[in-house]
Subunit: 347 residues, 3 copies
């Protein structure tokens, strides 16, 4: 059989019309070997040499046979999850993707978001075309996911029964921590980390931290600011309280921002350009692509001016706004000659 | 019978002393016609030519007769809600306001907050005198609203029963989404939008967005910053991540800030003055009423300096802090002559 | 018997291995007199002249006898709590600390955090050595505290039962409001105030406010910004929306920031230095210890320049970044001579 791109076996929620609202995959798989991939098929109506591509309902009994085959294939961990899912009292969702292609179903969207949060693949590595179109807006409530259009009736129903329905979000994306909790991570307020975030080992997201889907921190990191969609933080890079990384979805330009290793964006600062390694932006300073920056070399000599976008991806930069002149400066540990080369290499 | 200003039929919560903590009105009405207004009266002890003004308890049976009369009046939607409320096993709250006057009861305060969030009236259009005095501080918990003074006992009670009482807020205002969810709106973290917020169709409030009561966005808008009490955003105006609008309750001046259409306040920026249409404040820049701004005309020529408050409500302005000189500048698409007129017209 | 430093009688949660995850003390005591301290001992196996120091399990029956002895000692309030705890159907946690020493047990850590949030002692007054080591990372969920490592199984279990487990935080610290709700305080979003915060009477923490453990506001205060660990706000001092106080745990220096009375840090501003009384930092300006500041005296005459850290703790300062020159200035109500003395007294 052909190789598979990804597999997920899980549980879905539905609205009253029977449409999938969300899917939970306890142990999603990326690029499983043939033996493991094959274990999810066969043994029944689904048994074809070439598995169908996409989303299917399967019975808990099918999950039990999947578990047996996975155990035979030596995949104990995945087998254990399948065995647990076989305890379900309703149909399961089996999603198979032969290759990474545009998203065509809600359950496919959720599989890709799980792959990211399970750290099986990095942000910006998946084909997310069709993501928004296939994610319904869901009321995430204390009674589980509810179709947004069904919410008013449910609020009234709950009240009449003397119960309380609490609505945590009305959003296309759920909270990551209700689906995946990667090891070695702390999140002070889970409401601020969407499913699809990638949080590496040793990452702490404080109360003011925020991580969008398809973005993240490779770990270890201290995240007290906002990681916009598509943005990745390298190891030991910290975002200060309220610090901003400019996204491409709204307001920002087309170049995706990333930060290398051992960078610091100070509290209430921000960046609209990618940074290399060991860069610092002082607290309260926002650098956008169009910011004019005076270059200061390693000996403190002022050099030319450059647009910040010309410095994109460079390492060992310190951005400040001079407290006496008000000039935005970029100090480096390079000589004036190197600085000029940096400045002109994009011209 | 006289015309009514507003009507709400709903369910209240009470503290142990029997005081109303909050009221939920599924379908509040503003300026109902005489037939609909009359349907809420009559048929019982309340039947007088002139209905009493304010808050009353009514029986579920009364709600059933209200539903019948509303159906006769052709108000199917409101009738359906009344019919559902007739299923209640406890008294209902009927709030009638003949005219917009200062708030005299908790249930009246909640009716006005509902009118705003149901988009029946705009922020700054209601008489909110007495609002704070009539809103008790409530512990909003997983077990529903609890009087703040009764919370310690309830926390211990829950623990002794092996249960968990979760306290989401201790506030005079509840979360809007637990009462009203206007169509076409997404809210990534409902904890940040109070009942009494007005969110127009097509508005997205991201995790860092915040909307106070009696404030809002006419829609469509992207709200990633804070909309203070009294502030209104026009269509297609965006607040960047962490952007601030200065309120009048604390810190700000007396002039209520508003933003026209197609404005952008950049991430971590802010405004203490009202803006007209198509204005931009760059990321990280905070304009207060007293900020001295250099005017730059359409040809790039520097003109006079002005206090930002002199530019209040003007359109087509771009505010930046110059990255070389540190000067705060306001660039417009007008000529120097027009600029001077703008500057001096408030003198 | 010797005097005790602190006593707490409460209820703990445990992971499946039997380790304490957290402890709730409804009425913790600091420096109880001998009669009250003695009431917690005696009457059983624990009865020794010198009580053991640290954490012990006691029976509900022991709590009943404690309640009786407390009533005899005239401590009605504490007695009432002990009597309620005697209703428990499982062992209680009794924590006794003879003196303030490094933390050696999870239940000791929780006792100290309770002391702070019950306003029995001020931030920076307790020995918190060992705090992080003895606080396990807990998944704070709708089903109560769960060991972080046990969370994946619990998420799947809940789904299989058709229930929904909601994870609010994965953190060493719980939300204060689920343990203590000090009188006269409002918190718009409890997720942002950790147990161990000190909130004085009359303090309002708005949605954007955040208060770490071992930090706080003496009250009354309006907190719309972030109070970092170790930072204390004096009476009538306000933190504007998104305002930052630099902490010592990450990014900041070694000097603990504090703010005196009647200060204001404007929206999106911040401070890395301690402030005296009646100081203001304008909206959007971040002062760090190394910021060079031009001193302007009471007559508007520019004086020398100083590093902001030289002004640490001074009163009656107004920090702005000049809107024309971009220079950061500190205006005072003092003469130039006094200013120079201030400047040089730390040299």
């Amino acid at each position: 059989m052909t190789e598979l791109f990804a597999i997920g076996l899980g549980l879905s929620s539905y609205n009253t019309a029977g449409d999938v609202l969300e899917t939970f995959y306890p142990t999603p798989l990326l690029g499983p070997d043939a033996a493991i991939g094959g274990a999810f098929l066969g043994g029944g109506a689904d048994a074809a040499d070439e598995p169908r591509d996409g989303v299917a309902n399967v019975t808990p009994a099918h999950a039990a046979s999947v578990a047996a085959r996975l155990r035979d294939a030596g995949a104990e961990n995945v087998a254990a999850t399948a065995a647990r899912l076989a305890e379900a009292d309703r149909p399961l969702t089996l999603t198979l993707l032969h290759r990474d292609r545009p998203i065509a179903h809600t359950a496919e969207a959720y599989l890709k978001l799980h792959l990211l949060s399970h750290r099986l693949t990095l942000p910006n590595s998946l084909d997310l075309e069709g993501l928004f179109a296939h994610l319904p807006t869901v009321a995430w409530t204390s009674a589980g996911p509810i179709d947004a259009t069904e919410l008013p009736d449910r609020l009234l129903d709950a009240r009449l029964r003397g119960e309380r329905l609490q609505v945590d979000a009305l959003d296309k994306f759920p909270i990551m921590a209700n689906y995946v909790m990667p090891a070695g991570v702390r999140i002070a307020n889970t409401a601020r980390v969407r499913l699809g975030a990638y949080l590496g080992d040793g990452t702490t997201v404080m109360h003011e931290g925020q991580v969008n889907f398809n973005s993240g921190a490779l770990g270890p990191n201290m995240v007290e600011g906002r990681i916009s969609q598509g943005v990745i933080l390298g190891a030991h890079t910290d975002l200060g309280g309220g610090a901003s990384t400019m996204g491409t979805l709204s307001g920002g330009g087309k170049e995706v921002v990333s930060l290398g290793e051992r960078c610091l964006v100070g509290a209430n600062g921000g960046t609209g350009i990618p940074l290399g390694d060991r860069c610092t932006i002082e607290a309260g300073l926002y650098i956008t692509a169009g910011t004019i920056v005076r270059l200061i070399d390693a000996d403190g000599r002022p050099g030319e001016r450059a647009k910040a976008r010309e410095l994109a991806g460079q390492s060992d930069l310190l951005f400040i706004r001079h407290s006496a002149s008000g000039e935005i400066q970029c100090r480096t540990n390079r000589s004036a000659i190197e600085l000029n080369e940096t400045l002109h290499k994009h011209n």
